[in-house]
Amino acid sequence: MNEISEIKIDNKPPQERYYTYAYLDEQTKRMIRRAILKALSIPGYQVPFGSREMPLPYGWGTGGIQLTAAIIGPNDVYKCIDQGADDTTNAVSIRRFFATVADVATTEDTAKATIIQSRHRIPERPLQSGQIMVLQVPQPEPLRSLEPRETETRAMHAYEEYGLQYVSLYENISAYGRIAATAGYPVMIDERYLMSPSPIPKFDNPKLDMSPAILLFGAGREKRIYAVPPYTKVRSLDFEDYPFETQTWDEVCALCGSDTSYLDEVVLDDQGNHMFVCSDSHFCAERRENGHLGPLAGHSLAQKSDDSNANRVLQEGIAK
């Protein structure tokens, strides 16, 4: 593992291919790049763009795919994750798609990737300068659930009227005694624009702050692109008496023993047995390779887990 895979479909140079490089036509890619540049110059601002029909349904990552298609080049190394895992169906399909249409090498290794497309997570391994994180976003407008009128939310962004966003946090505390929102937790970008980092868990919010990587967000159905340039301040909203905090777990990862990563609960059988494992499958595998062992490292499920991914094995475990 950790090798850059060789899924190159053919070795023809791009101009000889029978389809356009990276699927989208050049005009469209230019249009998207212009939107990206605008988004990077106004951090957190939602830039409208002419979202195209893609060969997959809305909600499956059409926004992220268009972003990737617009920025990818043959020398890129591409990683795609879904729910933190590299080998879920959606991640595999999208990775294969770009291996096919863009002649890029693909990888599961966060450190080796130049473009990382993701749906729900930001990898545990800190992103580096030069990397681009592409996030697929279902609902770009953080105020939408409270204010259905687009004209009104636009005015709120224009005039920096963000009191309304606090109403949702207030409701949370009234109902649960704490800010219970977990995913899509709203952030202020450079103390100017309110932004939804959806759908990452709030556990990942601190990773956005002053990140050395470029963060791009794409919403295909809603036709919006927004971005956080490297080293930008990203602040999660909170109240003075209810400060922002991320999720924590009492357990460590059952497989690799990590006590710093985002954990998924996995049900093992009908008897209610369960375990917690890293949601970032590559991070977990790498730790195990380096000799880190979790409390269930000797567990039959863990043993069956091949080097690259625990999730697949776990899913088999569930199926049994």
Binding site: A155, Y159, E161, L164, Y166, V167, S174, A175, F239, D241
Partner: protein
């Protein structure tokens, strides 16, 4: 040594006038909304705008409350931040901020004035958040204080508005529009859709609040009984024109204009 005593310039006494409307006209194409309306309002005053539907009172209210730019004329409001200024001469963000800071607006239909998807308590607290408050505990306390002031069951603070009766929803709306200590509150038929008994209790409450807080309010109503109970002064409108104006008792006890006479007689005798 030679310390220079910096003397603050004496603050200019605030002009008493809170709202100054001059030659306000709103035309919809050929149709007149309201025509050449002028009046002044002072702090603590309650002005009633009365008339039937189609009289132009709603157009006038919308113009004055910043929702509808007039065709001609000016509306100057004495804002905390800007002093007496034409509200349509302010930039849009300034005008919106002034509205948040200095105004309240109680709609006839609570659905227009409340967020139906968030709890009653959060509805009441929202204006505080809009003004930048970020301490949950403090806002919660103010909310509770206001809900008890409008006589709502505090156990229901986290219920959604739809679970409250019409009268209760109106009380939530009133609390939401007073919590931030506005200088002027607009009320558009505030007791409009309610049963008579509920209406009477709500009017009592409103009158008490207005008196205790020294609120300035503009109440638009077709109901002369509401006008008599609430307003210090009346503007009577017909066909877009103000046909009569004066102290409430004067206007209602000794109406000069035939239309006012009709309005007064038809309602008060029932």
């Amino acid at each position: 040594m030679n310390a220079v005593l910096k003397v603050e310039p004496k603050t200019i006494t605030e002009p008493q006038v809170l709202l100054q409307v001059r030659n306000l006209t709103k035309l919809y194409g050929q149709v007149t909304g309201c025509l050449d309306v002028s009046f002044d309002m002072r702090a603590g005053e309650v002005l009633g705008i009365v008339g039937e539907s189609g009289s132009g009172k709603t157009t006038l209210l919308n113009c004055i409350s910043g929702k509808l730019a007039p065709t001609s004329g000016t509306i100057a409001f004495n804002a905390r931040r800007h002093g007496l200024k034409d509200i349509y001469a302010l930039s849009e963000p300034d005008r919106r901020r002034m509205q948040r800071e200095d105004w309240g607006f109680v709609h006839q239909n609570p659905r227009d004035g409340l967020r139906m998807r968030v709890s009653g308590g959060a509805n009441v607290a929202e204006p505080l958040m809009n003004l930048g408050q970020r301490h949950y505990g403090n806002m919660r306390q103010s909310t509770i204080a206001w809900l008890s002031r409008v006589e709502l069951d505090l156990k229901r603070i986290d219920d959604k508005p739809r679970n409250f009766s019409g009268g209760m929803q109106q009380r939530i709306q009133i609390a939401r529009n007073l919590i931030h200590n506005p200088r002027l509150v607009f009320m558009d038929e505030p007791t409009g859709g309610l049963d008579v008994s509920v209406q009477a209790r709500l009017l009592d409450l409103l009158r008490e609040l207005v008196r205790d807080l020294g609120l300035a309010a503009i109440i638009v109503t077709h109901d002369m009984a509401v006008a008599r109970l609430m307003a210090d002064r009346l503007l009577v409108m017909k066909g877009g024109n103000v046909v009569e104006t004066g102290l409430t008792d004067q206007v209602l006890d000794d109406p000069q204009h035939p239309y006012t006479q009709l309005l007064v007689s038809s309602v008060l005798q029932i």
